[in-house]
Amino acid sequence: MTIRFLFATAATLALAACGGSRADIDQTGARPDLPDQRQTLLPPMKIATPEGWNGEQPIAPAGFTVTALATDLKVPRQLLVLPNGDILVAEGSGGSAPTLRPKDVIAGYIKGLGKTPVKGGNQITLLRDADGDGKAELRTAFITGLNAPYGLAYVDGNIYVAAQDALLRFPYRDGMTRITLRGQEITKLPGRVNHHWTKALTAGPDGSKLYVGIGSNSNVGERGLAIEEDRAVIWEVDRQTGAHRIYASGIRNPTALAIHPQTRALWAVVNERDELGPLLVPDYMTAVRPGAFYGWPYSYWGQNIDPRVHPQKPDMVRRAIRPDYALGSHVAALGISFPAGQGLGRGFIDGVFVGQHGSWNRQDLAGYKVVWIPFANGRPAGKPQDFLTGFIKGDHARGRPVGVTYDPISGALLVADDLSNTVWRINRRER
């Protein structure tokens, strides 16, 4: 009775606190409009509850075909294409944040409504599509028994896996379909609490360094700042010795990393903070400047102070730099991939794909798609264009994109979908 009343009242208040996009506000590109902060008793919320595809598929631009490379995976997150064209899929669910407040119970329940009931596989699955029909004929449990694997990288005969608490190396020979050896631990990764558990990974341009994205342990420091040591940072890890240094900080949740194929710069997509209103704070994509501080938790998008952090640190706020390119508030960017060579053909050669998992903290669903952002001279040069849509139908979500990966061998884009537990493959239609 009490609980039901609480929920009913909560729903009413949420509606009262409604909010979403506004025609006069553009939150993509280098200079997003930032409205005033709006802290409400209940944050604006809308959860798209899951619904099956029922034979339908995501929608790509004309001239492209979409196939399900593999279905019935166990929460696929990030992908890696091996030199022989085999595709690895990291499957898992991490995080062990204890309940500190009544809010944690309720928010966990509400956000859970928009997730798959499938349990994370804690494994890496190998997919092989030798005949190129867009459907994997071979599927094996490549590495099992991992602790919430997420980021993947291949360098020089080794596969690197960023589990939620450690960076592991697995020696690999061309054509292998299973690795039973235990991984060698390159370095431990910050793993306490793991409010944001996903450890993004990419190899540096010369292969000597690995970059690991480590998300914050809270929305905005509400678990205390002691637990935020070595969080909201990108580590640069020496591939041989495992020694690491902080490459960038104050970068709230860097969920995916990629190297630009021409400039060789490290890029990240980053999820920004919640509960300052439906139109704050825009998630972003940025070339990561070594040594830079991106503001979290003290400020966002440069020097915009977050009043929820106390005591405030004006000296840190002064140091905070602006990211390069806003993607929109609460879109939850979780994937980034630059195509190389001829990319996906005309219109999709120079630019980047960004996978957006989708929002909860606004009344109009945002994200839930893969966008293409054109580049010129190594910098973003235009507005995001929808590339893969159809994940939302009515009030329901049929899928939620996570990792996106360009496959240089087939010339296709691969998209991991952790709601319908599918890997989608989008390729030019054969002429």
Binding site: T2, L41, R101, P102, G221, V309
Partner: protein, 142 residues
């Protein structure tokens, strides 16, 4: 000389036991709010959030019981007392509920002037309700 009868009891003993929770927890939440504002140690606002939630959970049946009593009791003196009690209890619970939402904000925003004000009001109303509830009332002789 006849001995005066003891004052009539307003509440069922179980009602009294349940009422003890909001009477204790709302003022405790006020104290932990004050401590948070003085120390910025996050555990104190977490304490407040649980204390307020506990007060609301145990306070809900108290409130329902009080509503039933206020409607049902026929005796004039008792009814007056019951209504005054309800008049303190209902805003205590409603303000406490709003305060629970306030305390679900993150970090420094979880208390602030609003949270402190709401905590003070629900604490004061809980203490007043307890006072009225346990005060007894005079029997009117026909």
């Amino acid at each position: 000389m006849p001995i005066a009868p003891p004052p009539a009891r307003l509440l069922h003993p179980l009602h009294g036991v349940l009422l003890a929770w909001p009477v204790a927890l709302f003022p405790a939440a006020l104290l932990s709010d004050i401590t948070y504002l003085q120390t910025a140690e996050i555990q104190w606002t977490n304490f407040s959030a649980w204390l307020i939630t506990g007060a609301l959970m145990m306070g809900a049946p108290v409130l329902l019981w009080a509503i039933v009593d206020a409607l049902r009791v026929r005796h004039i003196g008792a009814r007056r007392r019951h209504r005054l009690y309800l008049l303190l209890l209902a805003p205590m619970w409603i303000i406490g509920f709003v305060n629970a939402l306030q305390h679900s904000s993150d970090g420094w925003s979880s208390v602030g002037t609003t949270g402190l004000t709401l905590s003070s009001l629900s604490a004061a109303l809980a203490l007043a309700a307890g006072w009225i509830a346990h005060g007894g009332y005079r029997e009117y002789r026909p």
